[in-house]
């Protein structure tokens, strides 16, 4: 007799089947390793601590950048929006929330200047001073820069950098087949223009890191039962789930080595100040 079984029950049982005790050997390795690890301090590193050479290089690089910033601040004329100042505590990528820097501190040698070295097309960037942006996760296909709201687990604004491989035949469907977006950056903007649920405006051409880029502002509209959410890219993630149907999005598309790399940000209102900050970040990007 063929008895139907509930796949979810089988999956749950399979998932629970496994070890839940730390092996004694691992515990010993951790305890032994603790003695060999130089601990970070919240303030300057005191003398006498033995740092690995790569960490010494990272610290030296950070000091050079910091000294340069101080010199510029003291010597150079100070236009209102350009001065480089130290980031606030909450803005520092070295703050409590862990970032890729914890895995490899050399990736972002200073709070303001960093390298997305694990991205498929590595790039350097400069975080706009006083914007409160932190590096908040990244992998070969995306990097995320966010502005955390102090004292909460939420964030105010974000900039996502992604390598996309295409759009969706039906952007209203999470399970829709992908569609190739052949051509340069304009192909991505044209794809957005053909989505009935988006209004696409302001499409100036620009250059990022010396590469031709296309930009656009877009606003989702016409939320309806047949289209509860918008899935813009072949890759995972819904624009309207991650922001909302009321958000105003800005996208910059650049062709890097034949790949479409997008910079996306959004705001619930026309936040000129935030969009200017995001643009300052995007303009600082240099692909290696």
């Amino acid at each position: 007799m063929n008895q139907l079984r509930d796949p979810d029950v089988i999956i749950a049982a399979w998932l629970e089947d496994g070890p839940d005790d730390l092996p004694a050997a691992t515990r010993r390795s951790i305890v032994v390793g603790m003695r060999a690890v130089s601990r970070r301090r919240p303030g300057p590193l005191p003398g006498g601590i033995q740092m690995p050479s790569i960490l010494r290089l990272a610290v030296a690089a950070a000091l050079v950048v910091a000294l340069g910033a101080i010199t510029l601040t003291v010597i150079a004329p100070r236009p209102a929006q350009v001065g480089i100042t130290g980031p606030s505590e909450s803005a520092s990528p070295t703050a409590a929330s862990p970032t890729p820097r914890l895995i490899d501190p050399s990736r972002t040698p200073s709070p303001l200047v960093g390298t997305a070295s694990t991205f498929v097309h590595p790039f350097t960037y400069r975080l706009p001073a006083d914007a409160g942006l932190v590096v908040d996760g990244g992998d070969p296909t995306w990097y995320q820069f966010r502005v955390p709201i102090p004292g909460t687990e939420h964030w105010a604004n974000s900039i996502i950098v992604r390598r996309i491989t295409g759009g969706r035949a039906d952007p209203c469907s999470e399970t829709s087949p992908a569609t190739l977006l052949s051509g340069g950056p304009d192909a991505v903007i044209r794809y957005l223009e053909h989505i009935p649920q988006l209004i696409v405006t302001e499409k100036p051409a620009t250059k990022i890191s010396g590469l031709t880029a296309s930009t656009a502002t877009f606003t989702p509209h016409r939320k309806e039962a047949a289209c509860p959410d918008l899935w813009l890219w072949a890759e995972e993630g819904s624009f309207t789930q991650n922001s909302s149907w009321d958000a105003i999005g800005k996208i910059t598309v650049v062709d890097v080595g034949g790949d479409h790399v997008i910079f996306m940000t959004n705001s619930p209102t026309v936040d000129v100040s935030w969009f200017a900050t995001a643009q300052e970040f995007i303009d600082s990007v240099k692909f290696e």
């Binding site: 089988i10 070890p19 691992t26 390795s29 601990r39 862990p98 999470e174």
Partner: protein, 182 residues
Amino acid sequence: MTVGMVERARAGDELAFESLVDLHGGRCFGIAYRILRDADRAQDAVQQAFLLAWRELARLRDPERFEVWLHRLLVNACYEEARQRRRWISRVAPIPDDGPVMADPVVSVDDRDALERAFQRLTPEQRAAFVLHHHAGFPLDVTAEIVGVPVGTVKSRIHAATRGLRAAILADEQIGTEVRTA
């Protein structure tokens, strides 16, 4: 209790940190094992996460966020493990160091094989979201905080993982039916 231990460990108390290892180590190992499906690599990931936690603990401003912070280090370590050594090994049954594990009778050997293969086809990010939510029991918003992506993305990853695993079970069942009726 944890907050006090975190504060003492942050001040350099090694015994307090060892207590944190004892308190959270088993759960971390269970999560890492289920993400990586490999006991050796899970041990490496847990070790890396705890040593990073020890090194960086002085910079953790809010001791109450230790657990989320530690799990985020763990997930990042799992990602590193998954990407550095893409040598997925299908295991019919887990082989932990400490004691045998009883296989659940609900899951047949065929089911287990099908699920292991399907799980290996998922991305590390999908595996992590699925394990943190469904095995470790973290709510979606906490899972999102741990993996550092919006809640919507976490939902999407869990959905994709669930879909892939269900499909594997159903396909396996279909093959079994065909064999029996042939």
